[in-house]
Subunit: 479 residues, 2 copies
């Protein structure tokens, strides 16, 4: 039992903070609401970046970089956009020792400045589509912050595309939603619901917002990624026009889509336990740690020589940078085990004098603590298989949890009782109106996480008004 | 001859801008002094990042992320630091709709905030060394800007390490200087002089600054990377103390080192010609473009099928994402050739109906325009060999240029004449005094680029004062 981590049942929110501290994932920055992403946490972000970036490129996108400072007047050009982001802006008013004539905002998102550039780059249909992604820091001044989930500065990627037709823009929006779904489920082992946001919950300035929604271990929802069809809203605000195939000027149809360092919070809250962080093997920056165990210099020499062979034997299974050897002989074995467990390393390989004699290592899984003695010959294959099994098991466990915490309700009373007593995803009928949605949020804190876009639509009656409803929508209390 | 690029001999500075525009490497941002790094330019930065990052990790460093906003008071804690950076700061004074109690600066560099965090993370010698790198955007408000070389915002990496002893800090500083030298020469094919900066030219707050200096085609120098031994200056300012092995409190010895998107400017100005960008193959994001040539649908079908085979044949030589097939049959072949030449793609493979009949492709090198007909069977090996040869040739050409433009002078008159008529690296004796250095800079615009740290020291007399000098130092007019 970890003594540096509050158990989940005692205080989930403190548990979350403790897992982050114990795993050395992040720390508070001197500026309120900002965080420092420490090496262990940042390495997870690097894995996320590498795996997503490959997917973006394979779907035809390229990366670019747009400036962090945006003229404040840009933000005001799209009416919903300015309303959504104004309260959260950080503003540069002085630079180079002088007051600026026009204040500059630190980007909260980049639709505006990218729209401005696209208007210069796009002249004809031949210049379309433009399919650009940016990896960047963004700033949204927050009052109540929580590491990774909501901080004033965070890291993210923002894709921004421009197309000839509404159909192409919608297809791109849905394609990237699917990229996120597949990435979250396959790499992060986080099952998600992909669906449409309600008008109230959509991105300020979007025509339609889609999202992937995950369920955390405390039965609260986490919006893990969003994909927006912006229609011609930003093209009109920033004059992105092109000559079409009939030589007529038209506004381009644009999209934007993003995920952020919030995903690290999602990984923590989906998989970890009361001993600390558990990382799905595919996203773990360190996949295996080798821990030589010895009591005297003679044993040390023997065991260290064998540990080198163990590391070499893993060469066929993984990049050497993903294996660590913990040689800190002055620390107790239990402390070394705990250190790596709390950093979420999926597999520990213990190597003691007896293992050396038998030509074996003791392999211990982080998630279920299963121990297996493995010969050096079988090691690469066994490690590969075990990591794959662990990845699958973590996903299945999270999926089982979500299924056990998904409830269908018929009446608003049942709904309120379920929100209060169980949480989770609640499937209910709704009349499609914003005022009802607002009333539900005010009375229960639950919001519509998404409107399903696949599966059979079952008509019914709005749980609040009794009016007709085409399909159930997904409610939850969310982070 | 490129009609969209001013020849170097007519106007070198305009040529540089034209190469950037023609290659679609970068564009002006709406905020003065900032730039947008377009996909072609950003892809070069991604290659730089991947290759440097691997080197940083192999030398024991890890990445992390520190906040972009720093309390203004932090900057003032180190006396030289505040003097150096104050005039260039961009300042956030409002956030979340309110005036901030303390203004925040957009990081110009992160020694201060990282020092603050290290003071919390480092307690004992067991916590040392700390070896962290950060990839980030930074802001230094500039009056006279030039794409990639000097912009108000730029992208860079900044390594920050903390050590027990002065010896370790110095060893780290020199190790990273060598990482930069090797990277620039091997990957970017840019020969550099590694050396020590004078007191006047060192980083504000450093004990000693080392740099790698390159010579551009107009015989001006470019500082391509710096590595600083910060001594205990920042440890004292931010209270980074540790209990040493004798249980005494001591200040840590810190270093920092960085290179930036300026390197892209260095690549352009070292290798490119009057037709536009030339990229060394090892850093080229697209290594080969296949251009199918056809005049009618029948030829098109034939040639496109063969182009697929050509792409497949390259599979053994490179990542498929590094090969492009230009299928724009509605553009003239010459326009397609030019498009890719100006993006710096090292090799073009032309595939026409006659090539299909012969089972061959025409391979054209970007740098010397050499054409070779290659069979499909020999393609992967020939392409690999040709790229390697081109890499070597580009480095040798740049080295020959530097050698032809390195001059030893004895008198200040010779020095002034050489600066004016030839430029280049000028080796001269100097008495080691700042006021003489300042006088030389004022009168000639030349500065001491570096004091050599390897090679034989040849004593002599200061060219200005006649006082004794231990060794020649390297002067140049620099970007």
């Amino acid at each position: 039992m970890a003594t540096n981590i509050t158990p989940r049942k005692d205080n989930y929110s403190q548990w979350y903070q403790d897992v982050i501290s114990a795993g050395q994932l992040a720390d508070h920055a001197p500026v309120k609401g900002c965080m420092v992403i420490r090496p262990t946490g940042y390495a997870i972000w690097e894995e996320i970046q590498a795996k997503l970036d490959r997917r973006f490129k394979e779907t035809g996108h390229v990366n670019a970089y747009f400036p962090v400072l945006i003229p404040k007047s840009f933000i005001t050009r799209e009416a919903e956009h300015v309303e959504g982001f104004s309260p959260e802006l950080a503003v540069v008013t002085q630079a180079g020792g002088k007051e600026l004539e026009e204040p500059l905002v630190v980007r909260p998102t980049s639709e505006t400045v990218i729209g401005h550039m696209y208007s210069q780059w796009v002249q004809s249909y031949r210049d379309l589509p433009v399919m650009i992604n940016q990896w960047a820091n963004v700033m949204r001044w927050e009052m109540r912050t929580r590491m990774f989930l909501r901080t004033s500065e965070f890291l993210w990627q923002e894709g921004h595309t421009a197309h000839e037709t509404p159909e192409e823009a919608e297809a791109e929006t849905l394609k990237m939603l699917e990229v996120y779904r597949e990435f979250l489920e396959e790499e992060l082992a986080i099952p998600v619901l992909a669906g449409l946001k309600s008008e109230r919950e959509k991105f300020p300035g979007a025509l339609r917002t889609y999202s992937v929604e995950a369920l955390m271990q405390d039965a609260k929802a986490l919006q893990a990624g969003t994909s927006h069809n912006l229609g011609t809203n930003f093209a009109r605000a920033f004059d992105i026009q092109y000559l079409d195939r009939s030589n007529e000027r038209r506004h381009a149809h644009t999209t934007s889509w993003g995920v952020s360092t919030r995903l690290i919070g999602g990984i923590i809250m989906t998989h970890s336990d009361d001993d600390g962080l558990i990382l799905p093997p595919r996203i773990a920056p360190v996949k295996t740690v080798i821990i030589p165990l010895f009591k005297n210099p003679q044993e040390e020499a023997q065991v260290m020589a064998f540990a080198d062979k163990v590391k070499a034997a893993l060469g066929g299974a993984m990049d050497p940078l993903k294996v660590r050897v913990d040689t800190r002989g002055d620390l107790r074995p239990a402390d070394r085990f705990f250190h790596w467990a709390q950093q979420g390393v999926p597999l520990r390989l213990e190597v003691g004098p007896r293992d050396v004699a038998e030509g074996k290592v003791m392999m211990v899984r982080r998630d279920n603590r299963a121990k297996t003695s493995v010969t050096l010959e079988a090691l690469a294959q066994t490690v590969t298989d075990t990591l794959a099994a662990m990845q699958k098991d973590l996903f299945q466990k999270a999926l089982d949890f979500r299924q056990a915490n998904t409830h269908s309700v018929e009446t608003y009373d049942q709904f309120k009782k379920t929100v209060e007593e169980k949480g989770g995803f609640i499937l209910a009928h709704w009349n499609g109106k914003g005022e009802v949605e607002a009333k539900i949020k005010e009375e229960t804190k639950a919001t519509i996480r998404s409107i399903p876009i696949t599966g059979k639509k079952e008509p019914g009656k709005c749980m609040v008004t009794g009016e007709p409803s085409e399909q159930r929508v997904v409610f939850a209390v969310a982070y």
